[in-house]
């Protein structure tokens, strides 16, 4: 329930653009963003949400993981070709955001992470995207599905 309320509050804040005003109130946060869709509009909006989230909490206060599986790998496939998406992802990475990729999906869809995904190394790969999200929540991460 905390997580659901968190999501509601978070969206309310990002809509109002009041993030900066509340920055000092949030303390430390651990957050997992769940990405499993491939439409460009949702993915761009998700990157926007993540940036707003960091702005609101402060990059030094947040441990942010973006976990992609299934169609969600499209995020890094697009970033590989589309300069605008690439800038956004690179910018988030510079602020400490981790982009984690599901090994099951790489195998199932025969995706080569070295050539098909933007700036992805072996360290970014998790055995199962869904299990990773479940694990992160058990470690105190909040869940956000943009």
């Amino acid at each position: 329930m905390k997580k659901l309320l968190g999501i509601v509050l978070m969206s309310a804040l990002s809509l109002g653009g009041l993030g900066a005003a509340y920055a000092e109130n949030y303390g430390k946060q651990k957050v997992a963003y769940h990405i499993n869709v491939d439409d460009e509009k949702t993915l761009k909006a998700a990157l926007g949400n993540i940036q707003n989230h960091i702005n609101a909490v402060g990059k030094e206060n947040i441990d942010m993981r973006v976990v992609m599986h299934g169609p969600g790998l499209a995020l890094l496939q697009m970033a590989n070709k589309n300069p605008d998406m690439q800038d956004k992802v690179a910018n988030l990475k510079r602020q400490g955001v981790h982009f984690n990729v599901c090994a099951n999906t790489l195998k199932g869809k025969k995706i080569n992470y070295k050539t098909d995904l933007y700036d992805t190394t072996e360290q970014d790969i998790v055995p199962s995207g869904v299990a990773e999200i479940a694990h992160l929540q058990s470690q105190g991460f909040s869940y956000v599905k943009p």
Binding site: L4, G70, V130, S138
Partner: protein, 238 residues
Amino acid sequence: MNKEQQFSEEFINAFVDDELTPDEKAQAYARLGDDVLLNHQVCELRKVRDLVALAYRNVPAPACGTSAIAAAGRKCSTAIAAGLALVIGGLGGWFLNQASHAPDNAVVAQVAPVAEDPAKVLFHVSEGSPEHLKSVLDEVENLMKFYRQTNQKARVEVITNGGGLSLLMAGISPYAERIQRMQKEYSDLTFVACQNTIERIQQELGLQAKLLPGVVVIDSGVAQIMRRQNQGWAYIQV
């Protein structure tokens, strides 16, 4: 607390649990009069609290509409009892001593999962297109396989409401056989249907919603999601 501010979650919880000072309580009551969202939050929290109390109470199933919840509770107790047997074997007299003080299942329910530490995952399904439902089942099955391959204990619940209920409706679900096979293959996997949605279908469409065998019915999908999160389950929206 500033009256213009939103009440914090802790504050609302404390209100529901009757832990506020009289002044704070008066503040809350004053706001409840004109704040629909707050009203809704309080109502949901009360419902969750009452349902948790009901599920944990060690009583036989009442012969009313809540029997499904009690059934879910019993299923849970069986799993807990099995887990407890292992724990007792492992920890011997110390645990027996602790357990003998247990007034009812509530204490057992808190102890067993810590010792066993299974992964607890709920999938929330609220959309019902066949392609979507297929990807849901793929993801659930991949996760079950992953836990099996890595020798991790896990309990997984697939909670359906709204359009997602079509996954579990007999004569409508495109994947009835697959679900039956998955139920057989993974004993820790439960498919759950929302009673509110079933009633809504009956009212709005005049359809008597029949469910696939083995599906557990709970009062409200949303309340179940909150209950599970309170119990430490991970939430995954698919």
